[in-house]
Symmetry: C2
Subunit: 288 residues, 2 copies
């Protein structure tokens, strides 16, 4: 198949004692468009049924499993073949997969509209997704008059944890938190869906007339996906710190938008993936 | 607002020494339909723009944040009011929220189709979501000829971790694993999206002609959401074990489908949320 599930990217690794530039392995996140081909021989049709952000690999299984678990097909014997479409732009050749059904099968496409990502641009390569966002963002130029001390970052996870009320009770919620750049907590929101927690936080920021959030830090309780960086970019956020790992597409979007992306913020250490200039790190050379 | 973010449910708590019935606090997961009302006074229109599975609370912020971060509105001053619609079935009265825009604003609805969950049934209360699934599941009656020893369950997280190759490298992936009921690992799949990992796993099971998966255990590396239980039900799975917490709607769906749902499976302990009869627990009374 030739696909890759991970990618090596240069990062700045920071801990209480030192900081150095190294490489880190990231999970690849790319869109996959699933198409279904069906109908009698003289009238074959192709329909897009889903675009999902996925890690490349086992795409044929993903497509077959999706059609089955969403109730689009009832019997796997209906599938004649599953193959990638090597069309459209050069970059997305493994991001479209087509499932061909036999002539007598009518797929149940009633519920599929919810999954179809309609976008005027390419949309199924990372570049297309990023360009689509650039056109709608109100704050597409992220300002450089923001900065945060490494010492401030170290404290954020503990502060967030203390204010995650529902997580404390259930162990089952994602959180987004907004800090100012001296580490003062402004807003926390929680949800079973990480995108919802961030939408709530940005909605609250809107109510308090805080936008654009150019002098703030967005803290995420989990991983940093493409979708979360996209929403942050829309609100003018230029420093994102996540407890978990970022995906490749999250890093690419952050780089394009000049957003500082920090991951694995735990204890006295973190990784900087993009725009490291906004993180003020003690000069170990002179203090040691 | 009168909303609740958590719910107390009876569970069976099991560890190496004892098992007892107690209560546990779960994060509520319910659908929220976001509607936008716009247009001139003599021609107001209402459009559904999204249904998202969310934790109730801060729904107005969620709706405003969603419209803004998705680029549907560009300026928050365009919002005249945000309010819940107390219509439709009695159970969903807090699950529809409407954002009214001023007369001069035209929302950008071009990209919203991807978010619109079209379903013939109610769809915005838990019951509607569960009924929608019942109608399409090929294996809606989960069989009772499956069982697993507690000792077998204790071993599954370690076995899964040893086989999560990409997670090991990146710290950034969800995994789904299929075991037989004596604890033998059959299939593992990983992805940045937990629903994709499960679709890949079910797609692989299809390829190997293993469906329905009535003598197996599905192991999830993270939390158990409604969507994951739904996909499992479609494949005939009747025992699900998650490292993380389940949501309320995941538990309700598992109960309706007679699926055994285990959460917080870590070390020598776990919680059973539904259909506890399939977990064989040593009789502590006689052995102590």
């Amino acid at each position: 198949m030739g696909h890759q599930s991970t990618k090596n990217l240069p990062i700045t690794k920071v801990n209480a004692d030192e900081s150095n530039i190294t490489f880190d392995i990231l999970a690849i996140e790319e869109p996959l468009e699933i198409r279904v081909e069906y109908g009698p021989e003289n009238h074959r049709q192709v329909r897009n049924v889903s675009v999902t952000m996925r890690t490349p690999g086992n795409d044929a299984e993903l497509a077959a499993g999706f059609l089955f678990t969403e109730g689009i097909i009832k019997d796997l014997k209906d599938i004649v073949s599953v193959h990638h479409c090597f069309i459209a732009c050069a970059e997305n050749k493994e991001n479209i997969i087509q499932v061909s059904l036999n002539e007598s099968t009518t797929p149940n496409l009633q519920n599929t509209e919810r999954n179809f990502y309609t976008t005027s641009s390419c949309g199924v390569c990372g570049k297309g997704s990023i360009n689509a966002i650039r056109t709608v963002s109100a704050f597409s130029e992220q300002l450089d008059n923001n900065a945060v001390n490494a010492d401030v970052l170290y404290q954020l996870p503990d502060i967030l944890r203390q204010h995650q009320k529902v997580f404390e009770d259930t162990g089952g919620l994602h959180a987004s938190a907004l800090f100012n750049n001296t580490g003062e907590l402004l807003i926390v929101r929680e949800d079973v869906g990480r995108h919802n927690a961030l939408d709530k936080l940005i909605g609250a920021s809107i109510n308090e007339r805080l936008l654009p959030l150019t002098r703030n830090i967005l803290m995420l309780s989990g991983r940093a996906s493409f979708e979360l960086v996209q929403k942050a970019a829309m609100a003018g956020i230029n420093i994102i710190a996540a407890v978990g790992a970022p995906s490749t597409l999250a890093v690419e979007l952050a780089a394009e938008f000049n957003i500082t992306l920090v991951g694995f913020l735990r204890g006295q250490r973190f990784n900087i993936y993009t725009a490291a200039h906004r993180i003020l790190i003690p000069d170990y050379e002179t203090t040691h």
